[in-house]
Amino acid sequence: MNDSLTHIFIDSLLINNFVLCTFLGMCSFIGLSGKFSTAWRMGVSVMFTITVSTWMAFFMNILLIHFHAEYLRLITYIVIIAATVQLTEMFVKKTSPALFRELGVYLPLITTNCAVLYVPLLMTSRNYNFTQTTVFALAGSGGYCMSICLLSMVRERIDLSDVSSLARGTAITLVVAAILSMAFMGFAGMGNGA
């Protein structure tokens, strides 16, 4: 496998898009994509959390390997993520109380977003170095942010149109997500050349 930075970037942003191709963070993807304003805020806070927690997990992993305690990996990672989410919450509260009020409920939700746990786990299993990890975390979470924004824009239009009462809600959202996912399948061809 090619591990150049460009390849990692394009691979995790488009080809293996976290949401549409590997199905990570589905709960927030479907639950919070109703409005564009909440969607992009959620996307940015997920990006921030993923990047910070992956950096912390990177150094924690070095420590764990040093002490031969790899079986503690999962527990330490999830604690790191919970701590990072708490940190994000405090940071946002301190710097911008207005944004904090708007994000309020959504911030703690990031802990149960599986995309946040997936990045450190994959980084460990692929033996990425620090630069590769950073690029992977930024591109992957950027992909998440992009797809949740795309879906929210489509859903804002769907709210204006006449959908059968049976399909309203989750079902129509899933169909839209399927069409978006089909569009992203087109990027799969880029994987071979890179």
């Binding site: 199905f23 109703g34 997936y118 709210d159 049976l166 809600g169 989750t170 089909m182």
Partner: protein
Amino acid sequence: MSDTQAPVSCHGATPPPPSDNPFVNGLWKHNPVFVTVLGMCPTLAITNSVRNAIAMGLATTFVLALSNALVSMIRKIIPNQVRIASYIAIIATAVTIADYLVKAISIPVYLALGAFIPLIVSNCITLERAEAYAGKQPVWKATLDGFGSGFGFGFALCCLGTIREVLGAGTFLGIHLFGPHFEPWVLFVLPPGGFIALAIWLLIFATYRERKDKRKKALEQPASELIAIAEVHS
């Protein structure tokens, strides 16, 4: 989604119903996938074959039963403020055990499920069951609930896995169904198929529920109204 619909979120913790059997509740009335729409990531990601779906269902059942039992055992010791953190630590322990168990039992299954076994930690179902049920109920009930929700989850995974494997590969559990001339509908094995298959199942359930409601309403109507309606129609 309109605002009147139930929001789909990881924290859609509904209180347990007054009904008595936690196993049946978890399996059917509160089915994690079809009713409360929790744990979407593994639901969509690894249902491209029935075998993966069964393996994932069993792993999740194991984690749910173990973590529910442990949470229920120490529910009186945990202070209220740190309960979520302690639940997550317990769940992570159970998932680590499950991870090593699957690796020991079958390497092909372990490779097929990939990162999704460790990701059971961040599956909303486990935390939701711990928070909404196991933290308040005696051990045997909590364990039973864990098994019920786990099997309910596994059942839903198998429903999806069946559609996707039969249409996408023309096989069921690896057995060819349609003979050599079947052209597989590859889309269903690929990611978009997951979304579409789940949408189909949700539509089927919505239709079923609406019909049931209509029938109930028709039964509740007094006989005189029914006669009036019949006269109008005739």
